[in-house]
């Protein structure tokens, strides 16, 4: 009986092998654009589908985590099947750029955004902006901090959440090191840790924790408010706040894209980039993803100030490609 079962299972496995080889072969060959996307399918696919409808270009998208996709592209090197890499943050784009795997972009495409939101090597361009903010409970936090330095005060003791392994937090610390130097950044982190800061893995967990009353305030990107509220299917008792003008806590990171040197279809890739940066699409992006347009000054998320009015510090996004110094610091302080 057991043997019969084994035979049955072997037969089933063999059949599935045959079936899968057939389907595998069918999906192999095509002349379409291959996109590696660190942006999630829910956010980007409506725009990609529109592009296909407009141009007839077939887009094959491999979705994944931005950092893992970057590692994969680095590993593939010149063998990569990818034409275009869309990333959630500037760091992953910078890593590909540093490895020399991106092709130069058309100046016209680059000029759609301000030069601080694109690669200094002219090989990737930002598409949308994401601001660092402090998310807080309006009910429980009456004294809003106007500088990250105030977060180390006793009134916030045990009430703050951060996500130290998250790349957006590490980007912020990188900017902090850049503006204040390593010793001052370490000092701030140590004081924050001494203030019994709570550690989370993800920004969304921080926002959810504020809503649940576990903590009162957290350092996150601005759009998590909307993301968590949408996921929970209800309004949440959390608001976004900005620090005083120029504070590193307000830095702007970008999600962007670059065309790979291995691209077999660089014209279509360029067309797609141009499309993603056109006015109409940018406006829809803001509506759909709650992020900032890097092209239009009048397209920004409801309830937040326009991008130009965000008192953000000047940060060199190309520094974000290598966070090892930042990680070393976080390790030294004992936060990761």
């Amino acid at each position: 009986m057991a043997l019969k079962r084994l035979r049955f299972i072997t037969l089933a496995l063999a059949l599935s092998l045959g079936a899968s080889l057939l389907t595998g072969c069918a999906s192999q060959k095509s002349e379409s654009l291959v996109i590696y996307s660190g942006r999630s399918e829910s956010f980007i696919s409506p725009f990609l589908n529109q592009f296909t409808a407009l141009t007839g270009a077939k887009l094959d998208v491999r979705y994944g985590d931005s950092a893992a996709l970057a590692a994969q592209l680095l590993e593939e090197g010149t063998n990569s099947p990818a034409d275009l890499f869309i990333s959630q943050d500037a760091g992953a784009l910078g890593a590909i750029s540093e490895a020399g795997l991106f092709a130069q972009l058309d100046q016209q495409v680059l000029d759609r955004v301000e030069d601080k939101y694109r690669s200094s090597r002219s090989d990737w361009v930002g598409i949308t902006g994401r601001a660092r903010v402090f998310a807080y409970s309006p009910e429980r936090v009456k004294n809003l901090p106007n500088s990250i330095d105030q977060l180390t005060l006793p009134i916030y003791r045990s009430k703050i959440g951060i996500a130290p392994t998250n790349s957006s937090f590490q980007a912020f610390i990188t900017a902090l090191i850049q503006s204040r130097g390593e010793a001052a950044a370490a000092n701030w982190l140590e004081k924050l840790k001494a203030n019994d800061v709570k550690l989370y893995e993800k920004n969304s967990q921080i926002v959810a924790a504020i809503d649940a009353g576990e903590i009162d305030l957290g350092l996150v990107n601005h759009y998590y408010l909307w993301e968590v509220s949408k996921a929970l299917g209800r309004e949440i008792a959390v608001a976004n706040g900005f620090f005083a003008p120029g504070d590193t806590g307000n830095m702007i990171n970008v999600a962007g894209a670059g065309i790979l040197k291995t691209a077999t279809n660089s014209q279509v890739s360029l067309d797609l980039l141009t499309y993603l940066l056109n006015d109409e699409v940018q406006r829809e992006f803001v509506k759909a993803t709650y992020e900032y347009s890097l092209v239009l000054t009048d397209a920004y998320p409801v309830g937040l100030p326009p991008l130009r009015e965000i008192p953000s510090p000047r940060v060199d996004l190309s520094l974000l490609a290598n966070l090892s110094k930042t990680q070393a610091l976080l390790i030294k302080v004992g936060l990761i």
């Binding site: 009986m1 057991a2 043997l3 079962r5 084994l6 299972i9 496995l13 063999a14 599935s16 899968s20 080889l21 389907t23 595998g24 999906s27 291959v34 999630s40 399918e41 829910s42 956010f43 094959d60 491999r62 979705y63 994944g64 985590d65 950092a67 893992a68 970057a70 994969q72 680095l74 590993e75 593939e76 063998n79 990569s80 099947p81 992953a92 890593a95 392994t165 790349s167 590490q170 989370y200 893995e201 969304s204 924790a209 649940a212 576990e214 993301e227 968590v228 949408k230 996921a231 929970l232 299917g233 209800r234 490609a321 290598n322 966070l323 090892s324 990680q327 390790i331 030294k332 004992g334």
Partner: protein
Amino acid sequence: MSQEGWARRQSRPSIALLVASTIALLAASLPLFYLFRRAIDAEISEISLILFRSKTLEILATTLGLTAAVTALSTLIGLALAWTLFNIDLPFRSALQALVILPVAIPSYVFTYSWISLIPGFKGLWAALFVLVLATTPYITLTTLAALRRSDWSTYEVAQTLGLNGLQIFVRVTWPQIKNSVAAGSLLSALYVLSDFGAISLLGVDTLTRAIENIYRGSFDRSSASILALILVAISALVIRLEERSRQRLHIIKSSNRIIKRAKTNDKLKVKLIALFGIGSYLALGLAIPLFQLLSIFLANSTSINYSLLFKASISTLIAACLGALIALTLALPVGVLSAQGSRLGRVSDKAILIVHALPGIVMGLALVSFGSSIPWLYQSLLLLSFAYALLFMAKAVGSVRSSVDRVPKNLIEISATLGLPKSATFRRVVIPLATPGLLSGTLLVLLAAMKELPATLMLKPIGFETLATQMWSYSSIFRFNEAAPYALLLVLIAAIPTFLINRPDEGDGIGGDQI
């Protein structure tokens, strides 16, 4: 003493076994080769920075401590569950035997998330211990149940006749017969903890695997990550050595249909109730509560389910995982047989397969990307994906194969030889049928693990080929656990089918799988 089993009697292994085992060894060496190649690129200063910082020591201590604690606890619980389910005549026993395996089908990040959403502030080392013990117990339960089913119960009867009590019988009769299988299950549990990322990252525990992942994320520094991964390899080699030393050769004289008869079961109501309570608690914590929590997350903010997507993802998951399990069995069988025969090639391949099992998914994925991307027809094909599954998880089958083959009794082989059957026929008609319960449970574990695999799947799947795990990820990565929930629930439901099939005892005696 070791001459008792069939395996030890084979003086010269067949060419086919040697070739197949060599292929398995080469396959298992791929990620190791990859790691060495990457690690060589690292600068000396970089290496010393990684190795000689105090945090590394702390990470090592956490990794080793957590692995040891989880393994010890899950072994105790798994053993208790298996023993209870086998010996006590409980209602719905066969269903319970399958249910206790199912927690292994829930991806660890989903499992962990459901607990976090249930208990605010659920994190840290204790939380990780709790989650990982629940998640890895099935490895021990399954291997132990398989071993109990093929135990020789004539000795049990003798022991009873001699007036030994329950505990004495367990220690002196049962334990020696199942010890190796329990150890094999514990090893899988330990390797699981070493390679887990989903649970430990959500719970904020710093193990080596998380440190490796952080390096990839933060600095895209593949050589530093490789050095840490090699440390992980060293730890898993150590764990494997420990397991190997605990293994004992068996003395099996006979085990045939005529004699196999499960001992009279203990029917006292009180005993049954205690047993049911124990099993029920495990099922509640490991299966019911997480699934119920997922369901309520879905219902709290239910969205319309895309049924065609759900259906397609289920089929894709089954095809890729079955194919992976088939390849894994094909590779693990010769290795297990050779290893049981004591062949050096078999033992080396066996160890290599186990060692790479402790590597995090991202490392395995990148190793296969590095090797596969230069072969366009193979890269990101279903074949490579299934091969990745086999490579990642054949360790889950190889131990079962080895121990099952090892305990095929010699008298049956002799009878077969007396009847004039050639070695290959003996293998096919005597060894394989006797080893079948072990082979099946090993293959099942590969199948269940492959169905929920994520990091390597994202890198290696054909574009547009979505599995339940990738769909689940695409929602959960943007915090939409409500939309991810149907995929998670379906994954467990589908996983239940092979689990029930393999665990279904044959009618009547309730000792399925060991009849010739």
